[in-house]
Structures are given as structure tokens and as C-alpha cells.
Symmetry: C2
Subunit: 281 residues, 2 copies
């Protein structure tokens, strides 16, 4: 089974792919989130794995935006993977905390360690790079340079860990989506029929910018007793200050009350799309 | 008048500061959004200027998160600045598009030019840096390296512009907030009393994770005929998958129906705070 994931190897997404698909799967690192979607769309991989949200930093907006691309309309979400995130400060053997002049990491990792960095390395120049693995690679054997990265990177790039678990909160987790291509996209594929657990459905909607339109949408969820786990707004990219909303709620379209709610939502929105349905991880 | 803004010089925030406060003001570049807030909190600057939202990339989540910091509780929003964003590809004199191996820019600029980059520079390595000005500075005289940055950077760092206005959409604008310290924070300061225009108020709220709680909130806005321009959710950073909401709506607390709506909102939320009120730019 071929699985495309956001690369390079040794990142958290790689770890999530191993957790979900195991060592047996043919895991293929991609250069970007867009490339993961396109590999699944083109049939080069059966599944894709992309980060969607971190419990501290919030939504991975680039992943949300991919669901709005017209050429990726057959991509559906079929599962989620939840991964605890541990960040470590690492540098070449022999280096010390006081030597550090420059630090590389991914913007989300920097965000998740901001408190620790402000306290421990307030004067160090921070450079954002495309992945934690790239950060570890850039450190190499150079003195004075450090990276924030997952433990796997220290092993892969021969670095020592100077400080462990430097993330600001101990509830730091990242959620990943498993994506799949299905045409026609409806009815949604069900891969976890036999699994016990709470079903979740993700929607993307567009509403008119007018008093009461969002209230009409939230009213549908309340009437059908559906708990909205999450609502995110994103620019529509059609015109300035115009938004689409991403909503996760408890339930699945095969349940009659959810099907009825979805029909009603279609009348309260200018546009609506079910992105997928899965069992909570 | 001292104004702290997100530096370095020659970035879009600098341009926005010049637009709002003019050449006469003592404009002081800060190293980070947090430093702008802290300069205003400490009284080192009378006003601060920070980006809050781009019409393509969405919220500047780090700015939103600062409003949740308990030690910054006296900071209020008093105005907004709207700036059209134009991105340019620049490199050292004599360089050509085909020579480019490495590109530096700020993550939001990269996001705003993603389509152009995918078409014109699909193989080029992209490195995210903390600011567009830093990107332009890193280019220096090196061949094969380019930056995406504002026009002012080409002048400041002696670079040539290879391609102009490479942003994906022509409605690319960024909104900035002018922040100010006031203790006690209520009633809100009004700096633009005499100005004509639509008043906007920003709120931050927290609600219970339960069926109908968000609907109760949107109901208050509908009952008082208040148009919600925008709703953003952000992790509460208190526990995993727990959120706070940022809401902008048309109206100001000095209007009786808005005051009544705010009193009612207090009963429908577990926590609510008015972040500021200003005239739409």
C-alpha cells in the first residue's frame, strides 16, 4: 500500500504515518502538503497523510485551503491520527547551550517552544525552515548552530540532545488527516465501519455576509443536537475579506438525523461540501 | 510620538506605520510581534502597530494569541490600517530567472505567491525567514539567490526587480491593528470620534464545548441586528482541543443596542473581553 506523506523523513508526519500504516506500507515523503494531495489525486498513492491541527498552534491553514481547490474535489478525509508532540533542542556533539548563536526549526515548532526560547535563548537568531528534519540537517557539524526537532532527527543526523521536551504545554498534540480519492465522492467511503468510537464529520461551507446567516447555520446544528467540535474561518480567495468556514461535528451522514441536518444546511448556505467522515482517534 | 512596529525597516508593517503616523512620528522597529505588545505595555511606545490579517492568508494567529496573554490585559485596539500588498521577485544586479537556485521570503509572502512560484520556479528551494527585509538582505551580491519582498527593499538593499506584482490575487491586502495601553481598560478610548465611517468592535470569548453554546452566542448578534464580520477560533492553550473565539462586528459599545448585546453575551459565554473599537479603514 502506497502512502504519500508530508516529508522529509524523520518528521512528525512520518511518525504519524508509521503509527497509522506501520512499517509494511510503502511510505513516500512529499515536498509539500500540495504534493501529498496531488499524489493522491493522480493515483500515485492510495492514501495521503497531512497535518491539520496542533493543539497549541491551531489549524494548519494550508491543509484547510487545499480542500477548497476545484481540481482536488474528489479528495475525501477517511481517518485521523493523533500524535503527542515532543520537541528537543539538538546540536553537534560537544556543543553547549551558551555556544548557540543561530537556531533552525519549523515555524510551528518555534511557536510551540516560544516560552522556552524566550527564557533560555532570548538573544539567539531564529531562522524558520521548511521542516524539522531540514533544521537538523542544516546543523551538521557546525558549532554555534542548533535545531528544534523530533528525537528521531537526532539519531538520523548524529546530533546530541541538549534539552528534552521544551514545548510550552504538556498537552501538545497534532492531528493528521488521512486522505483518499473517490469518484463520485458521494456516498462517502467508510473504512472503519467495525471500529467503536465517536464518528466525526467535516464540512466546508460558504454563507452570505449578512446579519443572521451564521446564526442560521449554528441553528441547524442545535436543532439536530449535533455538537460542533470546531469552526475555522479561512479567506475564500475569491475576493477580499470574504470567508469560508470549516466545521467538525459529532455524527456521520449515514445517521438519519445527520442526513436531515445536511439537507437543511444546504438551504442555509450559499455552498456546502462534506469533506469526510471518520471515527475519532 | 513614539510608535513601535513589527520590524525590521522596509517591511509592509513599516509602510503601514508610515501611512498611519507619517514621517514625523518616531517609528521604532521591534524584533517580534510580542516585542511590539511589550513596548506598548511598558510605556516605551505610545502606540504599537501589528499585522492582524491578510485577505489571502487569513489571520496572523500570533497577533490574535497576544490578546489572550494575562500580562497584556491593558492593551486595546484603537484603529486599523489597510494596506494593498504587492510582492516583487528581486535579486542582485545581472541575475536572471533561470539562475535562481534558492529563494528567501517570509512564510506569508511565500503563501501569497504560491501559484506564481509553482508555475515559474517549481524546482527552486524555498527558505522561510523572519521578514521580507531579512530575505532581501540575505540575497546580498550572491548569484543564484532571490527574495520575494516589497519594492522598498529593492531600493534599500540595491537589488533589481525581476518580476513585479507576483501575488496570486489582485485583492491582496493586509489589515493592521494600532494598539494602545489604557488602565482601567474600560470604557474604551475613542481616538476617532470625529471620523465618519462604520464602527467595528472586536471581542474575544470562551464558551463551553456543548451542543448549542455557539448558537446562543450567534443568537445575541442576530437579535440585536449586529453583523459579525469575522469569527476566528484559536486554541485556548489551557488544554488540548479547547478554543477561544475572536469576533469582529459592526457597532461600538457606546451605542445602546451594542451595550445591551454585550451584557447578554456575558451570560452566554464562560468568559468575554472587548478588545477594542475603531472606525473601519
Amino acid at each position: 500500500m502506497k502512502v504519500a506523506y508530508l516529508g522529509p523523513a524523520a518528521t512528525f508526519t512520518h511518525e504519524a504515518a508509521l503509527k497509522r500504516f506501520g512499517n509494511e506500507a510503502d511510505l513516500r515523503p512529499m515536498r509539500s502538503i500540495a504534493d501529498v494531495f496531488m499524489a493522491v489525486e493522480a493515483g500515485e498513492a492510495e492514501f495521503g497523510l497531512v497535518p491539520i491541527e496542533n493543539s497549541l498552534e491551531g489549524a494548519v491553514t494550508y491543509t484547510l485551503d487545499m480542500f477548497g481547490q476545484p481540481d482536488l474535489d474528489d479528495i475525501v478525509i477517511v481517518a485521523e491520527v493523533l500524535l503527542p508532540i515532543s520537541h528537543h533542542l539538538m546540536m553537534a556533539e560537544g556543543g553547549k547551550l551558551d555556544d548557540i548563536k543561530l537556531l533552525y526549526s519549523h515555524p510551528q515548532s518555534i511557536g510551540q517552544c516560544r516560552g522556552w526560547l524566550r527564557t533560555n535563548l532570548p538573544e539567539v537568531e531564529i531562522q524558520e525552515v521548511a521542516s524539522n528534519a531540514r533544521a537538523a540537517e542544516l546543523v551538521g557539524h557546525q558549532p554555534g548552530i542548533a535545531a528544534i526537532a523530533p528525537r528521531l532527527c537526532a539519531t538520523n543526523y548524529g546530533l546530541q540532545i541538549l534539552a528534552s521536551d521544551i514545548q510550552d504545554a504538556d498537552f501538545n498534540q497534532t492531528r493528521f488527516f488521512v486522505i483518499y480519492k473517490q469518484r463520485p465522492r458521494w456516498p462517502l467511503p467508510v473504512f472503519e465501519d467495525a471500529e467503536e468510537g465517536q464518528p466525526i464529520t467535516a464540512l466546508m461551507i460558504s454563507i452570505k455576509d449578512r446579519v443572521g446567516t451564521l446564526h442560521a447555520v449554528t441553528g441547524v446544528f442545535t436543532r439536530y443536537q449535533l455538537n460542533m467540535n470546531r469552526i475555522e474561518s479561512r479567506p475564500s480567495k475569491q475576493k477580499a475579506w470574504d470567508y469560508v468556514f470549516f466545521i467538525d461535528f459529532v455524527g456521520q451522514p449515514s445517521q438519519p438525523h445527520v442526513a436531515a441536518a445536511l439537507r437543511e444546511l444546504a438551504t442555509e448556505t450559499t455552498w456546502a461540501k462534506v469533506l469526510g467522515s471518520w471515527i475519532r482517534s
